[in-house]
Structure formats: C-alpha cells, structure tokens
C-alpha cells in the first residue's frame, strides 16, 4: 500500500493523505488529474472496482466534494479519492469509460446536486424526479420545509381544528 501511495505522490498532485477509522486511506487530488489517476490505479495497480461515487456539499466552504472509492479485489484494499470543485458551474469529468455503472452514480449526482458530467450516458434524463424545476434537492441550500409548504400544504379542502372546540361544537351546537 505504501508503494502505491509513494508512486501516486510522485506522479499526481495528491494532498491530505490520511487513514480513515477502519483503515481505508483517503486522499485528495486536483480535479483535472482525477481521471488519469483513476485510469492509472485501474490499469497498473489493480483497483478495478468502483465501490461508490458520492458527493458531499460543503456549503460553508463554497465547494462540493466528490469521493471516488475504488477497490482492489486481489489485495482487498480500498482507496478513497476526494476531489473538491467549486459550487458555481460545478462540472466534473465523467468516468463512465472506466466503469459502466459510474453512469448511474453520475446521473443521480447530476439530478440531486446539480454537478454536471458531460458525456456520461443519459446524464440529462431525469432519474428519480420527474419534471423537477427547483434547486437540486440534495444541495444544502435547498429549503425542504419551504418546498413542502409551497407544494403540499395547505391543500384546498383541508382545515385544522382545535379538537376540544370542534367536539364541543359538534356535540352541543346550541350552547
């Protein structure tokens, strides 16, 4: 594992290398170098499985984090690679040519976080949300409460009553 990290350090601008609580090594890399790095890990170091591709919204720091966790089934080791991209005009290179199922992750992230992956298959088609015209819902500045109040409540024909008052009126309307 140390050899691979030394090798990566030499070839790619990696930083923030650290070990997670259960031994998975996480590191950050510049966005432009991500695809060459993953290609090299897949071709030369046996990291042939994309375990997860996930996005995290760091709203306070005005950036998105994309985490690619790759797995080497022979060595039984995982490597987490973080990429930070700006929140405005969020775009990232697609990795669907390395792993076919990355297209699903990318399509979901496009819809939920608004991070675009140009060239990824069916990336512009809606995945879960049909006819969504609001802010991408997994962004932290998307106000879920406001959205549900605007969209669902109060519905026409629904009213809220105080139970005690309501029963009193029902049972003793004349009093």
């Amino acid at each position: 594992m140390k050899d691979i990290i030394d090798h990566l350090k030499k070839r790619f601008p990696v930083y923030e290398i650290g070990e997670g609580p259960n031994g998975v090594i996480f590191m950050s890399v510049e966005a432009a170098k991500l695809v060459p790095m993953l290609t090299s890990l897949k071709a030369n170091h046996g990291y042939g499985i994309l375990v997860i591709l996930s996005a995290v919204d760091w709203l306070e720091e005005y950036k998105f984090q994309l985490t690619y966790i790759v797995n080497n089934p022979e060595e039984k080791s995982d490597l987490g690679i973080r990429v930070f991209i700006k929140r405005e005009d969020a775009t990232m290179d697609s990795v669907h040519r390395l792993w076919e199922h990355a297209a699903t992750f990318q399509r979901e992230i496009k819809e939920m976080f608004g991070i675009n992956f140009p060239g990824s298959p069916r990336v512009d088609e809606p995945f879960l949300l049909e006819g969504w015209d609001n802010l991408p819902p997994m962004r932290r500045d998307f106000d879920t409460k406001q959205y549900s109040e605007d969209t669902y409540f109060p519905r026409p024909g629904r009213e809220t009553n105080d139970p005690a008052e309501y029963m009193k009126q029902k049972l003793y309307p004349d009093e």
């Binding site: 997670g20 609580p21 259960n22 998975v24 996480f26 042939g48 499985i49 994309l50 375990v51 997860i52 996930s54 996005a55 995290v56 919204d57 760091w58 984090q65 985490t67 966790i69 089934p73 039984k76 995982d78 987490g80 390395l98 792993w99 076919e100 199922h101 297209a103 699903t104 298959p121 809606p126 995945f127 879960l128 949300l129 049909e130 819902p137 997994m138 932290r140 879920t144």
Partner: protein, 396 residues
C-alpha cells in the same frame, strides 16, 4: 430456439439504428417494434420499479429501468436528523432485510465516534444478521420459481420465513423492522429458550429445503427455463459493479464476510459458494447453497457465543452526541451482495452525508438493461429476480 439465442449478440444488424449519442431510434410506426411497460405494478417485478421494454416479436431489443416511484428522500432526511434519529429511517430502505442497514449505520457511527463494542453484543449482531439473511433467502430461493409460474413453492417459503420472523419478534419486539442493532451494542439479550426454538425452526427449514430441491432443483421445466438464460460474462462483473451471489455465480470467490472480516466471522468455519455458469440457474444454486451455509453459521454462532456479557458500551447522550469530523466506509454482506455506507461527519450532531449503496444500484440499472437485450419477454422476470432487485435501494 436454442438457449444460445438468449445471450448477448455482438451482431446488432437486426436492431434499430442508433443515433450519434448511442440511443436507439425506434420507429414505432414501422410496426416492427412494440413498447411494453413492465411495472411499476406487475406480478413479475419486485417492488415499485418499471422496465420500459422495446420488443420485436417476443425478443427484447432495448430495455430501460425507470425508478422514482418510491423515492422518500432518506439521504436528505439524514442531514436534518441526529445520528440516533437516522435509525428508524435507514432501516426502511430495504423492507426484506433491514438489519444490514442497521449494522452499517451503527458501525459507521461507532467508527467515527470511537466506540468499542462489547464481545457479547457482536455475537448477538451476528445472530440478527444471519437470521435476516436466512429469512430473505427463504423468500428468494423458492421465489425464483414463482417468476415462471411455479408459484406454490414460493408460498410455502413464506411460511418458513414467518418462523424466523417469530424469532425476530421474540428477540427484538418487531417482525419486519427490528432496530435491534444500535451504536454501542444491541438492545437486548437472547430470551430464555431462544436457542432451542431457533434450532427447532432450523430443522424444519432444512426439511423444507429438501422439498424445494425436489420440486424446483429437479424440475425439468425450471431447468429448461433457467439454464443458459441471463448469462453474465466474467468481464462484465467488475465494470458493471456486480457483487454477492451474482459475482459468485460467475466464478468470483467474493464474500465480504471472508474478504473484509467484520464482527467475529473470522472465527467461524464456512466456505464461499461459487458457480461458474453465471446464468439464472447458477445464481439460484448459489443462493440455495447459501441457505445451508447460513443455517450452519447460525448453529456455529449459537454454540460459540458466550451465555452472558455486556451488550451495550457507554455512549455519550445520543441526542447531544457530537461526532468529530471524519469520513468512513462501512461494508457488510447482505443476502443480495455487498452493502456499503459512506459516512461523512462534520463535527456537529448531524451527519453531513450518509450515502447508501445497495447491490441493486448497479444490478438493476446498467447490468439489467444490458442483460435483457436479446432476452425473450417471458424471461424478463426470471432474470430480474435472479439479480435480486430491490428498487428502494436505487432511489433511497
């Protein structure tokens, strides 16, 4: 028609033309093709998901998975809930097997919060996880025959699954959702006489599996319908993210319990069930063998676990528990494959991000879409069920 016709063909001259983006242009007016929607309500579809099939005659030329009928926004809800409050939500991600979600979330919280779990609690977690695996397999193994009209064994299987659910009710108070595994340990010890009653159930289930062998395994119709159908080439397993029984049926000896041992699985003696044909029948055989392995594991756990011990470590007040900034990956083996949680903590009482990835996320979207091409329309359901599709995992 020989079975060979059902596997992936490289010659696509009989198919509709593709445009520059690779999407097929289907001219429905040409009367060569028909669009069929299988789902979201269809007896052959597991859960709320639909397959948009373009068929020519009775052969599928294009398939697209459509999800979103069950989207409950779990991952968004987690951002506004404390770690403890995430439990009732996360278990609802997969109805048949909620315990893997419980375990992953509890384990991730413990790793990030630096909590050591007592020994007894880990053994009890293994009992819960293996019982969950057994009850899913009891639905899934005879259920595979249900997709081709042999519905009766599937109904029998439900009775035997109920026996395990009775044990769950006894252990946890709930039949379907248990919330037994919590950060720091588990909620309770085994009740008196639990092991004896579970052993009685296991004996009954073993005798039932002999019936399953007779009516399904040795059934000529079942074999004819499943052999050579839905073949996944070895080269597809990694790029398409196939895990669990799907990968094992293609000859890959992969099991999270063996490869990345968690709890005390490294103290148990079990093998990885592998087949090589990689068709629907091979996947059925892997799951059928998994039933025996699981029963054996449950017996080993019951004989090896201590009688008494601490079941819960000291944790901070769970409603005011600030977890330091960090990230982790947790995985465990569910009955359907590798179950993964990626958790990011930001030092507050709320998780920054919990991303869950079940096996269906890859199996039922890219892999299924590719696998259905050239399949006969009557084989769509068997192929889909053989991949153990659980739509809520895709849409969380």
């Amino acid at each position: 028609m020989s079975n060979m016709n059902y596997s992936w063909k490289n010659n696509r001259s009989m198919f509709p033309e593709a445009d520059e983006t690779g999407k097929l242009v289907v001219d429905l007016d040409s009367q060569k093709y028909i669009k069929v929607w299988q789902g979201p309500n269809h007896p052959g579809v597991t859960g709320n998901m639909s397959l948009e099939l373009t068929i020519s005659g009775d052969e599928v030329v294009e398939a697209q998975t459509h999800v979103g009928y069950l989207h409950r926004g779990f991952e968004k809800l987690f951002e506004r809930r404390r770690y403890m409050q995430c439990f009732p939500t996360c278990i609802r991600m997969c109805v048949p097997e909620p315990d893997t979600n419980e375990y992953n979330l509890a384990r991730g919280t413990e790793l990030l919060g630096g909590i050591e779990v007592p020994e007894m609690a880990n053994w009890l977690r293994m009992i819960a996880l293996e019982m969950a695996r057994l009850q899913v397999l009891l639905r899934m193994v005879p259920g595979q025959a249900g997709t081709m009209g042999l519905g009766l064994p599937a109904q029998w299987g439900l009775y035997y699954r109920e026996l395990i659910l009775d044990r769950f009710e006894e252990l946890t108070g709930g039949r379907i959702y248990h919330m037994y595994i919590l950060p720091g340990g588990v909620r309770g010890l085994l009740p008196d006489g639990f092991k004896k009653r579970l052993e009685e159930n296991l004996v009954k289930i073993e005798s039932f599996m002999k019936d399953v062998d007779r009516v399904i395994y040795a059934n000529a119709v079942f074999k004819k319908r499943t052999k050579g159908i839905g073949v996944i080439p070895e080269a597809w397993i990694d790029p398409y993210g196939a895990t669990g029984p799907v990968a094992r049926a293609a000859g890959f000896e992969r099991d999270v319990r063996k490869d990345y041992p968690y709890l005390y699985y490294n103290q148990l003696d079990f093998g990885v069930n592998v087949e090589h044909e990689s068709d629907v029948f091979a996947r059925f055989r892997v799951r059928r063998k998994d039933v025996d392995t699981t029963i054996d594991l449950l017996r080993q756990i019951m004989s090896k676990m201590p009688e008494k011990g601490d079941i819960k470590a000291e944790t901070p007040n769970v409603l005011h528990w600030k977890i330091p900034r960090g990230e982790t990956l947790v995985r465990c083996e569910s009955s359907r494959g590798e179950y993964i949680f990626y958790m990011v903590a930001d030092g507050s009482m709320y998780p920054r991000r919990i991303n869950m990835r079940g096996p269906s996320y890859s199996h039922a979207v890219v892999l299924l879409e590719k696998l259905l091409i050239n399949a006969n329309i009557s084989d769509v359901s068997p192929i889909m069920v053989s991949l153990a599709t659980c739509p809520p995992e895709i849409e969380r």
